[in-house]
Symmetry: D2
């Protein structure tokens, strides 16, 4: 059976496990006060071109979003996000459990439209009763989005500009950042992400690590007591060096970027094959998640050989499905799937 | 330099890393829906003698405490704990951040006294204004405690009995459970823990795992939607099998118990040596944490060769210090430290 | 200047103030443990036809919604509401501040459509990832809605039925209940409201009281420790009898119903007059809030003589405005306004 | 039957009800945007000698404490308070429900000792693990305390100084402020309170109002979005003018101070009488709450004629009881009680 359900079905890049074994019986201080973590911070800062940024390592994406957003918002504020944003849909209410409202904007294939953002903020403060309402306190976007789409540099610049004129931070969920950086036709680099956002995270779990997300705080006024907040959210790993070792490995010799390119290349190969067979590509994704509208009989046939995600009916005889590649996907599995089409 | 700061300075038992490598490129479903997790649940249930218990794996101790306690308490209730309890002191307010008060009882070398518990509950409901106060909604104890001490079986039976007559659950924080089970002179087995508590957790982070805690819910009426609550607390690991593999390994061929015995044996060896040199043993700990009252000049001398925790002055010329062994402590390091005395 | 901004511009029905003076120097126990509160509970139960219901008095609407909803929801659940619902828009995030998500349904002139509710619940549990999402844990509706519209008895029956089959409570925000009960053409009585919902409240603030809302809990299994929760939410009035006296007065000799009829009669008189002048009635409201689409020049002219709420542009030269009557609106003010048209 | 249970058994000072009637049918804007509220703010500012302070009116004490404290604390901080503090004991966990820990200091007849406060803060930051602990983020004191005791000016100065050197605000709960200002032998004026604290409130509920507390924010950097926070906490009264009218009345012609003096004078008269009869005064209270240790047979006899609060046994044959006077206590009732002794 072939598997294209998601990008966290395997363990980690072998080099990471090799480093775990190599360092296993060393004794280091806990909670990230170790040399591996320090070197990983340094490597991440350098890759992002932000020598003064603070870097923190957390374990998973939902916990990272909840902790960062809780730290950025004042009580009277909520977080703006596309209606399809992960924090609004698939985090079991973690944002609200910390006391904050998710304020939704329309989703355009997972993306927030800058002009709709601008209008939202302007309309809000024009309303006489705005003090009775939850104020827009920050913007959350995912890059790539939950639909695999990415922002262009000019879109990010516009979003960043709107946020900063409104005096609210821009936060980017980069759970799959490696795949965005390798996206077909994208003009957005990691340096752009760091330059245009106030806080963002670089996802490890889905891009080569066993687990782990690197939070980069580029705006020096934000998240002043973040270590304690990480602890309070239960997001502080006792053996913090496990995160340090992983991110040091990923950001040595460009491994992180290389893993991203691998997954995207195979995803695009898959897209090409589906398109060539006459199937409809359902989302304009240049990254490792591909969405197709397939006849139900084709889906039924493929399910005998491969697993993938079902995203609901599209018309009477067709449905939308998602195929995901990852840093670990094998070339031959892609070819085998294509042969099955 | 020798290190006795804490029991999470190394990685994991080598067998765990071996299993990680062996399974690394297998593809399994996320969030614990994999065969390793299923087998680990089974192994834990069997070791605890509770075939019908539900078992969940979380990443760390603070997050486990916050998630379980949040799930057990109603709004008007708080959690009873010794004043020295980890949740009351060293979790950065995680319990309160979830909306609940920690109701403190006196600490007797880290332990709760059953009769003081009983009196607290009785006095509470005798107070005319009790509906204006936070009701005792559960009992939290740690076994072993933060001071390395353990409860006897009869103490646990009494605490359990008081809780159940008051209709509140007993929850045991077993971050170092492996060391309690190996405690010198203890008559408490894992089966006793499971039988007498409603929920407890078996700590992996400090006893041989890279990370991970196994929550065992023996009371079938409690925590009905715990999976969603784990997700909401950011405590759900995407690659859940990493936890499954670790706990399956720890609970195969008694490895977990063996690791506990190793650490305790070396700790007691250390205690013996300190005592033999005429130093005061400051806490009656039969487990892997040992507390001594040492002259400050001795402390200064030892610090040149070894790291350990300083717990504050005791009198003018002495201080209390903590030495911790772990599953990974080497026999020769203990002997070397003793030689330095 | 005439005022039609809202229904809380005046104090209280004079009979209430008379009773305050009459009882002012009596000494009674605090927090609602007084005979006035007991009699008020009795009067409310009788008016609602639910002899066994529990009745609680709180001070204001937002606090009532937050306290009830916090009490009804489990951690993994959110509250379903129309997108336009007061809890979703104008309560400054009070629901989220208590840790719960508002799950929105489309608003049909303020109302929830039963079939859309049914579909939401069914779709939710059909989704494989539903345990990662906030579960629908209760339904919030307002009757009348924020747009003055009301549900029919059959609509309430259908909503109630859907909720109960899904095993979630139906909660009705009756901030303006008195005006719904007097609504033109409505077949819903207070007995229906009590019979079909699990919890609801009867608004005093906007219908004759100085302040105060009566929460009626008809489902005996819900809100078991509600007194403590009221206290925790800061919603417990020290001199609870002030609420008792007000609701006893309102529910003696049908005063509450009479005040509702007065306001609605004048509102409909106003609607008739606007319609007769050829202006567009913008919302099908049979209650004390009336919405008109007026040419901007008419609005500008009226603003010299009267205050009312501006609800935003409708087309290039027109806008929507709201006129509100209340229990205290004077017949002659209505006539004067009509003359000004 | 005579009643000395508490100071909120009657309604309001008659002048307040007179003003309610006088203004009852006036139409004003809601939520405190009315001329009465504006004038009340002005009167409070003037009485406190802080012309630039911001003043807000809330309904009750628990809600005021919860809202202010929630607004003052950052996530990683808790509120320091005497163990006996109202927020720690009798507010049903309202502080924790907003996510914050109450950090307790020893209670000295309800008071915080400045040197113990200083030591707490210093010790906290000396602890290596302080980032894992809840940081002291503000000081809460009550003046008078829950035991009727008051701080001296030099004590307040010392507390204020310690807080400000530690860069944390001092907040004073003045639920019974009127009685503190009239305390026998006190050298603390309202101006002192305003000068030495950052935020405090002047209680109306227990000192002549029907309900209501005036929050005075003297530190201009604090509570920047407090209006929205009041709304979020369900503490915003729709008919805000009811609070304005009450506080305007209380702070016209010194009524508030006069009501305080009345109650204290009668309380001291009572204390004198008990002492003269040879009974033990159990607390050094110079305000309207008096605590006596009485033989149980005396208590039983008095209970036939008067109500008062029982505070638990003191020895085998005696108990502590509390008698409370208020602005409304009648001279003749005091004399009658004394006669009964």
């Amino acid at each position: 059976m072939l598997h294209f359900d998601c990008d966290y079905m395997e363990g980690a890049h072998p080099e990471i496990l090799r480093r775990f074994i190599e360092t296993n019986l060393e004794q280091t201080a806990g909670y990230g006060n170790d040399p591996y973590t320090e070197r990983a911070c340094q490597a991440v800062r350098q890759a992002c071109g932000v020598p003064d940024a603070r870097v923190f390592f957390l374990v998973g994406g939902t916990q990272t979003n909840a902790t960062v957003i809780d730290g950025l918002l004042a009580h009277h504020q909520g977080v703006l996000a596309a209606e399809s944003g992960h924090i609004n849909v698939h985090e079991a209410g973690a944002i609200e459990a910390s006391g904050h409202k998710v304020l939704t904007l329309p989703s355009h294939q997972g993306k927030v439209d800058p002009e709709e953002l601008d209008a939202y903020i302007n309309d809000f403060y024009r309303d006489d009763t705005y003090q009775h309402m939850v104020a827009p306190g920050m913007l959350y976007i995912s890059h790539p989005t939950e639909y695999g789409t990415v922002y262009s540099r000019s879109e990010l610049e516009r979003l960043s500009d709107i946020c900063h004129r409104a005096n609210i931070p821009l936060y980017i969920d980069g759970a799959r950042m490696g795949y965005a950086l390798a996206a077909e036709g994208s003009d957005v680099t990691l340096t752009d992400v760091a330059r245009l956002s106030d806080v963002f995270y670089i996802g490890g779990t889905k891009v080569g690590a066993l687990f782990g997300e690197a939070v980069v705080v580029t705006n020096p006024t934000l998240l002043p007591h973040f270590f304690s907040l990480i602890k309070q959210h239960g997001a502080l790993l006792a053996k913090g060096r496990l995160l340090g070792i992983q991110f040091e490995t990923l950001f040595t010799d460009g491994l992180y970027f290389q893993l991203g390119r691998h997954a995207v290349r195979l995803a695009l190969r898959l897209r090409e094959a589906f398109r060539a067979k006459g199937y409809e590509v359902a989302m304009e994704s240049p990254t490792n998640q591909q969405f197709f509208r397939l006849p139900n009989e084709v889906i039924d046939r493929l399910k005998q050989y491969a697993t993938f995600e079902y995203w609901g009916p599209r018309g009477e005889h067709s449905s939308m499905v998602r195929f995901v590649t990852s840093w670990a996907t094998r070339e031959e599995d892609i070819e085998q799937l294509i042969a099955l089409l």
